[in-house]
């Protein structure tokens, strides 16, 4: 259940973040594209949270899990809760996530748990498209004007400290890896690094300097921004429990 929550929370929180761009993106075409990405992630989040609710025993639903938990009970990656910033920030965050997400889903399709394998198979092609999109846009911005290059580089550097957590493992992970339920993320790290280096190279951007990494999201220890995000996302169901429309 912990693993399903982690996947569900990361996709839900990132989906919500991206949906904040709806109506505000730099051009209409990007607005549609980013809202589509948000919807894909939200769809995935529903699958993961339904699975989590089921594994828990069924006394809570996916909605209860999404709208009824506080920040300390959310187990998303720190990376995805960071604010949108400018478009360079959003894309840097997206590239790091997409590259990890596609590899994770790829590994999960071989899960010994049929439901996990199923959810991952469904999400895989959308994730592959997201990765193509974020990589392509970063190459365009990095290899664009001086200003777009500088802003892209700054964003790539700023989000780097959150990428260590993508490959963290704890006891829960170890147990699931041993049972063949989830892949060992450490083995995907070189492929992730490779994709990032290749993309940044094509974008004429430099790989960020080695730094101490920040983590904690997967244990429920979050930064200051998640609470505000949840407050907005959860307001309606909490103020009007059981509301329907």
């Amino acid at each position: 259940m912990q693993f399903a929550l982690r996947m569900g929370d990361s996709t839900l929180v990132l989906g919500h973040r991206l949906s904040e761009w709806c109506g505000h993106a730099p051009v209409l075409e990007e607005d549609l594209a980013i809202a589509n990405t948000a919807l894909d992630l939200l769809g995935s989040a529903r699958h993961w949270l339904s699975l989590a609710a089921e594994l828990e025993g069924g006394h809570r639903t996916e909605d209860d899990l999404a709208f009824g938990r506080d920040a300390s009970d959310y187990f998303n990656l720190l990376l995805v809760e960071e604010p949108n910033g400018d478009y360079a920030d959003t894309l840097a965050r997206q590239l790091y996530f997409d590259a990890w997400h596609t590899l994770m889903l790829e590994g999960l399709t071989g899960s010994t748990n049929a439901k996990i394998a199923d959810i991952s198979r469904q999400a895989r092609s959308a994730a592959a498209f997201h990765l193509r999109r974020s990589s392509d846009l970063i190459i365009r911005l990095g290899d664009g004007t001086t200003e777009s290059h500088d802003r892209m580089q700054r964003a790539i550097n700023d989000f780097w400290i959150f990428t260590g957590e993508l490959f963290d493992k704890d006891g829960t992970d170890e147990t699931l890896i041993a049972g063949g339920v989830i892949p060992d993320v450490a083995t995907s790290q070189p492929a992730w690094q490779n994709h990032i280096e290749h993309t940044l190279g094509a974008a004429t951007l430099a790989l960020p300097p080695v730094t101490a990494m920040r983590s904690g999201g997967r244990r429920g220890v979050h930064g200051e921004h998640l609470g505000f995000l949840l407050a907005e996302m959860q307001f309606l169901p909490r103020a009007y429990p059981g509301a329907r429309w």
Partner: protein, 93 residues
């Protein structure tokens, strides 16, 4: 960003049918136009293939030439296949 070129989008809805014009969008090149077209026009399983064509590459007939182009065909009735007796029982003509 309005300086980005305009692209016309054509989608083949299923194999065997021809590509049909569905709309247009702005993009900096063909690759980006394809990606945007996927998001703007194929969310509901609409297609099996997308064409993107730069709007500036399309040559169109001028509305003012309408009579010169199309009128002559109207007074040549023999061009229209209306002189054949229809056998009874043919439904789809």
């Amino acid at each position: 960003m309005s300086e980005l070129p305009l692209w016309e989008i054509f989608i083949r809805s299923q194999h065997g049918l021809s590509h049909k014009h569905v709309g247009s969008l702005h993009a900096s090149d063909a690759e980006m136009a394809l990606a945007h077209a996927r998001d703007a026009y194929t969310r509901r399983n609409e297609g099996v293939s997308i064409w993107v064509v730069k709007a500036s590459d399309i040559s169109a007939s001028a509305p003012g030439d309408k009579s010169a182009l199309f009128d002559p065909s109207n007074d040549k009735v023999y061009r229209h296949p209306t002189f054949f007796p229809m056998p009874d029982g043919v439904k789809h003509l």
